[in-house]
């Protein structure tokens, strides 16, 4: 392993290259600029291509072109750029084109605050384009090292499910520095649990029906496959159609290729949940690290608290919320987003609370105060940063 003191952006770039990414198109934006910068240096070194796009919409369309040309591709941005992916993201979902996308979370809406972390895109990454009728895959690292690991995983899933995969990493993950180990040998890659999947190009003309056991068509379009790529509903041969039945068949598969195979996607970290604690603290991204510190401290003082960290956000892991407990969602937003999914997924007689703010992480002491208050059966007392309303 080679050790670095580097940013999450650097880790993501190294991981992408390791996973076989050879094309990156992007447009600079804090806090994802360093990813584009790193890719502009790294890709030419390995025979790849870096393209500076005129905006984010063009960047992701360029990635679609790269993917159709047979390459593993990536783009990266922050919230204000991610919304400009709306059009090409839809193309990639509907035409089943593998692309890895970084959304580095800062504080919104719009330009908001650049150099501070936010988690306001929890739903935005679930519904990144118009029209509905699809599922998305979203992974949320909480450290630079995990960003490395999940980037490799994102490329695997993008190829496996033939669709775009989003990495949602807050500004502290992408912009913060940390000690990072980068594997150099195959043994080290295996030790890290990395999995890889090569691009499979089928030169037959059929778009679908699927032959794969997880219901995914065999071909990635383009690259002389003879199959068409279009934003219309495709027939089984890949021709455009306006038939409702064909549309249903197509989008049903877009949804269920993901829903039926969540076991290949879902990842989480359970901490101190074995003894069915009264309070379960749910979080993702960097806040989860403070939550873990706080739960460790809480346990030392005898509080029955556990932590559940979501590593994959979408498809949402409803099955993890079976406990009849008090739930607390800790998020970097003021409006409460993850908390809504928790309430939908958990047993109906559970109490669900929300603690959120932007730009700064909650402190361990603040969390301990909130834990105690909830364990005492109270609502969260109005200290300066909590927002119980959602």
């Amino acid at each position: 392993m080679k050790r670095y003191l580097e940013t999450g952006n650097f880790a993501i770039a190294e991981a992408a290259v390791l996973a076989g990414c050879r094309f990156f198109a992007g447009y600079p934006i804090t806090p994802a600029t360093e990813l584009a910068e790193a890719m502009s240096k790294r890709l030419p070194e390995v025979g790849g291509y870096y393209l500076q796009a005129e905006d984010e919409c063009a960047a992701m369309h360029m990635c679609i072109g790269g993917a159709l040309g047979g390459m593993k591709v990536m783009t990266g941005t922050s919230g204000p750029g991610f919304i400009l992916y709306a059009d090409p993201y839809g193309w990639a979902l509907a035409s089943e084109i593998p692309i890895v996308v970084l959304n580095s979370g800062r504080v919104g809406p719009v330009s908001g605050i650049t150099g501070a972390p936010g988690q306001g895109e929890f739903y935005n990454v679930r519904f990144p384009t118009q029209g509905g009728n699809y599922e998305t895959i979203v992974l949320a690292p909480n450290s630079a090292q995990e960003a490395f690991y999940l980037t490799v995983e994102a490329f695997y899933l993008a190829e496996r499910f033939r669709m775009p995969v989003t990495l949602l990493a807050d500004q502290l993950v992408t912009d913060g520095m940390e000690d990072i180990s980068v594997p150099e040998t195959d043994a080290e890659k295996a030790q890290m649990g990395l999995r890889f999947k090569d691009r499979e190009i089928n030169y037959g003309p059929e778009f679908y029906p699927a032959v794969d056991k997880i219901d995914i068509p065999p071909v990635v379009l383009g690259h002389n496959t003879g199959a068409l790529c279009s934003d219309w509903t495709p027939t089984e041969e890949g021709y455009d159609t306006e038939e409702v039945e064909a549309c249903h068949k197509h989008v049903y598969r877009l949804i269920y290729k993901v829903r039926n195979h969540k076991d290949l996607i879902t990842r989480y970290e359970a901490f101190a949940l074995d003894d069915d604690p009264e309070l379960v603290v749910v979080s993702f991204g960097t806040p989860s690290r403070v939550v873990k510190s706080a739960v460790k401290k809480a346990r030392e003082t005898g509080m029955k608290v556990g932590a559940l960290r979501l590593i994959s956000l979408w498809p949402f892991p409803d099955e993890l919320f079976w406990r009849r407990a008090t739930y607390l969602s800790v998020e970097l937003n003021y409006d409460g987003q993850l908390v809504r999914e928790i309430q939908r997924a958990c047993p109906k007689d559970s109490r669900v609370h929300f603690l959120g703010q932007c730009g700064e992480l909650p402190g361990v002491q603040e969390l301990l105060t909130v834990f105690q208050s909830l364990l005492d059966g109270k609502t969260i007392s109005p200290i300066n940063w909590q927002r119980e309303a959602w």
């Binding site: 670095y4 003191l5 520095m177 403070v290 460790k296």
Partner: protein
Amino acid sequence: MKERTEILISGFGGQGIVRLGQIIGLAAIKQQYRVTMLKSHGTEQRGGYVRAQVIVSREPIDSPIVEDPDYFCAFSTPAYRRHVDMVSQGVIFYDPSSTEVDEEKVKKITHYSVAARDIAIEKLGQAIYTNSVMLGAMARKMEIFGKEILLAAMLDVVPKFKEENARAFEAGYQLIK
């Protein structure tokens, strides 16, 4: 060594705050510690509020935020005021040319006045070496790091004028006993 050591450096953009955090982080890696270094900054390239939070530990680090710094280094009065109440047991370094300290706090918490900017100008002719002088002063008190390792980390990180930076570091180191 404590379970975790928290270091907070704050000031204005352009003072080398993030650089200092980066140097300390690299020194931690050289000593086989685990480390996180978060930087917060405004949109401005220079002049805005900047903060670097470094956590050093032998174990994997959960919370990456500084809540009770063992070492707090202030490069501006606003930065000092914003964070001074967090310090309970730790020590504070500050540059009196840019930072006005609270006399009540000085009675309770160890403050090291490091005239880093003045020394940088006097000995090296340029204020740009201010943060290297400060790092030298901090090196004297940050027991978890060897002096030579901090110096080596600094020389790895600064792109040029390495000799001048090393002299600045030494001048800072000699300033505090």
